[in-house]
């Protein structure tokens, strides 16, 4: 067998207080798609950012095609033939596709004549099935197309190794399938491809080999076809996990949250939500599926009045909350778990204990307004125990928690307040399977306790596993509401892309 394209040996990277990579060995071959799997905080992104020159390793060795290379900046990495698509796209919104692609390249002298670049982009698009118009401006492109631009950017730089960090988090199932086809094609052409993902079924369907990391170490590297989803999950978490939740059938209760004819604009004053009607009942999970950026976050913010409502009404058990303060939403027992855990959901510089009392300070203060530390600690300890937060030290800083544990705290905080209804946004984005399982279980147990839950998620599997009814949002409108029994990945996926399945019109129920 030929030697690997890239081989990283004994990589060590320390951050204050953690060893993010501990003697990591990692190899990728030309022609293969290599999946990198691991729990939150296992050190996957750290390893990839070292390869791409964004972090400096403390010790270790990187060789490409047998020759040792020193990579200190992204520029070095690009020169060495390494390219990376970051989870958050690295594109300049107001530049065109071609401008984004030639950015930072020093060929072609100082003048910015882009005619030749355009030609090459068209060629590359054609050969690899990455359709995009070089003169479109990025901000007018859907996410799927932006991702194609990112990949073109790498190919334009003649990257041989392509690293993709959680590339499917924001795609429809159809877009994901198309992406995988492109990746397969690239691998066949001799590129080496690394994909970081938490989705086991994707690993099974697209990858040739898997490397599994836990606590900064590589625990295993194996051929995909000799493994199974269960085995991968077990290797990664160190115990058995099942991503099969059982959802009992229960009758819908009475209406709790009524949204009628809601209109909301986005940050740039463009229409984001145009005339949405939804009624949420007790004891149901209503899944709101949709590709990111179709108005779902604006909708969530408007429901809590964190964003101004242009017109329409939000009613909670007959109380009109339309233009009332978020505190009043709280008082009327509507809870919110935001998508942006780190900036909206928590105060990263404060301890777990301080974060879990946010919004209920009054309950933990004496009559003179002083905080009652004992009471706070008692409450925080209870929450940490009940939701199995690690570490269990309530003085631990929230900013240092892994995504999964932070999410347990945000969800736990709301659950402990005993609300009637929840607006939960992207609850498992970026979480590993172990954490996903825990969050799903909590959401379903709240539903079984008779709570009404609006679950906003771009993750179809999550929607299909948890929802009693599924609404699909596209360009600020509800495409239709489907009973869980009638839903399939294909049908919902098409609706997410704005296509109504013509064979059977979706039943619209309110």
């Amino acid at each position: 067998m030929s030697s690997p394209y890239l081989s990283a040996q004994k990589i060590v990277k320390r951050f204050p207080g953690v060893i993010a990579n501990n003697q990591v060995d990692f190899t990728v071959n030309r022609g293969e798609i290599h999946a990198l799997l691991g729990e939150n905080g296992a050190g996957k992104s750290t390893l990839m950012q070292i390869l791409y020159g964004m972090y400096q390793m403390d010790s270790g060795k990187i060789s490409i095609e047998g020759k040792q290379r020193h990579i200190h900046t992204s520029k070095d990495a690009i020169k060495a033939g390494i390219g990376m698509v970051h989870q958050e796209f690295m594109l300049v919104r107001r530049f065109s596709v071609v401008e984004n692609i030639v950015l930072g390249m020093d060929s072609d002298g100082i003048t910015g004549n882009l005619t030749r670049a355009r030609e090459r982009i068209r060629d590359l698009s054609k050969t690899h099935g990455l359709h995009v118009d070089p003169d479109q401006v990025i901000e007018h492109l859907p996410v799927g197309a932006q991702q194609r631009v990112e990949i073109l950017k790498l190919l334009f730089r003649e990257a041989q190794l392509l690293i993709l960090d959680e590339p499917t988090a924001v795609l429809t199932p159809q877009e994901t399938a198309a992406l995988f086809q492109v990746l397969r094609h690239l691998a066949e052409q001799g590129h080496a491809i690394v994909i970081v993902t938490h989705k086991l079924h994707e690993i099974m369907s697209v990858s040739d080999r898997v490397t599994i990391m836990r606590d900064g170490c590589v625990v295993s590297a194996l051929e995909t076809r000799n493994s199974s989803e269960n085995q991968l999950a077990k290797l990664m978490v160190g115990r058995d996990v099942s991503l099969r939740v059982t959802r009992s059938v229960r009758p819908r209760g009475k209406p709790i949250l009524k949204i009628s004819d809601l209109h909301v604009t986005d940050d740039r004053n463009q229409k984001a939500v145009t005339g949405i009607d939804i009624t949420l009942h007790a004891g149901e999970v209503l899944g709101l599926a949709g590709v990111d950026g179709n108005g779902q976050s604006e909708l969530a913010q408007a429901l809590l009045n964190l964003r101004a409502i242009q017109s329409g009404q939000v009613k909670m058990a007959d109380v009109d909350l339309t233009h009332r303060s978020p505190a009043e939403h709280h008082r009327n027992r509507l809870a919110y778990v935001p998508a942006d855990r780190r900036h909206v959901g928590a105060l990263m510089g404060l301890s777990i204990a301080r974060n879990v009392i946010l919004g209920s300070h009054g309950k933990y203060a004496s009559q003179f307004g002083l905080l009652d530390e004992k009471k706070i600690n008692r409450f925080a300890k209870e929450l940490v125990r009940r939701f199995d937060v690690r570490p269990s030290d309530v003085d631990y800083m929230a900013g240092k928690l892994s995504g999964g544990n932070l999410q347990k705290i945000l969800l736990g905080r709301e659950i402990m307040r005993d609300p009637l209804a929840y607006v939960i946004e992207q609850p498992t984005r970026g979480l590993d399977v172990g954490a996903v399982e825990a969050v799903w279980r909590e959401i379903l147990s709240e539903r079984d306790a008779g709570k009404a839950i609006l679950l906003i998620s771009a993750e179809l599997e999550e929607i299909l596993n948890l929802s009693d009814r599924i609404a699909v949002i596209y360009e600020g409108r509800i495409m239709g509401i489907v009973e869980a029994g009638d839903a399939s990945i294909e049908k919902i996926g098409l609706m997410m892309a704005g296509v109504l399945p013509d064979s059977e019109a979706p039943e619209i129920r309110r």
């Binding site: 950012q49 791409y52 964004m54 972090y55 900046t73 992204s74 520029k75 690009i78 990376m84 970051h86 958050e88 796209f89 690295m90 594109l91 300049v92 919104r93 107001r94 530049f95 401008e99 984004n100 030639v102 950015l103 930072g104 390249m105 020093d106 072609d108 002298g109 100082i110 003048t111 910015g112 950017k153």
Partner: protein, 312 residues
Amino acid sequence: MELDFFSGAFFASWLAASVRLAGPLLLVALGELYSERSGVLNIGIEGTMLLGAIASYLVAWQSGSTWFGLMGGILIGCIAGTYLSWMYITVQASQVVVGIIFNIFALGVASYVYRLALRGVSGPQTVEMFKPIAIPFLSEIPFIGPVLFNHTILLYATAGLVAVAGYVLFRTKFGLNLRAVGENPAAAETAGIRVSHMRYMCVIISGAAAGASGAYLVLAQIGQFRDTIVAGQGFIALAIVIFGRWSPYKAALAALIFGAADALQLSIQLFQIDLPPQLFLSLPYVLTILAMSGLVGKANQPEALMVPYRKE
């Protein structure tokens, strides 16, 4: 001779003065444009102008050469720009706070040095100035000639720099990279651009332009130094950048409007018209406040303006 307020002579002299006064404003605004396009709001240009003015004054006085004076202004501008970019980019202190503190510091230094230099000298010293150069033929065109083609070399150079900035920012790879740094530094860095190098360079350019602009005031307009020589023109340049929508050509237009407002105030005093000159004196500052308060709109503002970038 009886001068009519609405006569052609009035207009010609007013417009010529507008162009003349717009020169230093435009020069410093052009420098600021580089800095802001790369994502750094350099408020320190006000103080840098003052330092440029005192440096050029002292050098020109001691050496007797206006050109040495100009170079002294530019040099001190580069030094100030280097210090400011270190504070903005490496230390990552608040750009507004650093800029304002620096302006106060510059005021203190400039007036102190000026008093020190004048010790034992009787009265303020006047320095040699750049002379207006009438461009052959063009300057003889009626009306337009005296308005546009009878100015100092500094004004012609500044006009040339408008075209240079337009070309560099929008027609070269370097300009593309520079603007990318101001729009999305993380994207620029991953594309292989050194964000901090780029920002250092741009802030130093704005410092050099501000230093030159301070020298401009001394060497082409006043011939002397005084503490109030800059009098907020650096802040006005910040407004010009906003009115100019971060484009050099539009900034030139905006600078002319500010120059015109300033010139009007002078002309009105000259022609003894019965209007309080304070009204017109305050006009550029009122426009500045409007621009800074966001009333003019933020179309084209670089997205990462004032956002420090930390490479992880």
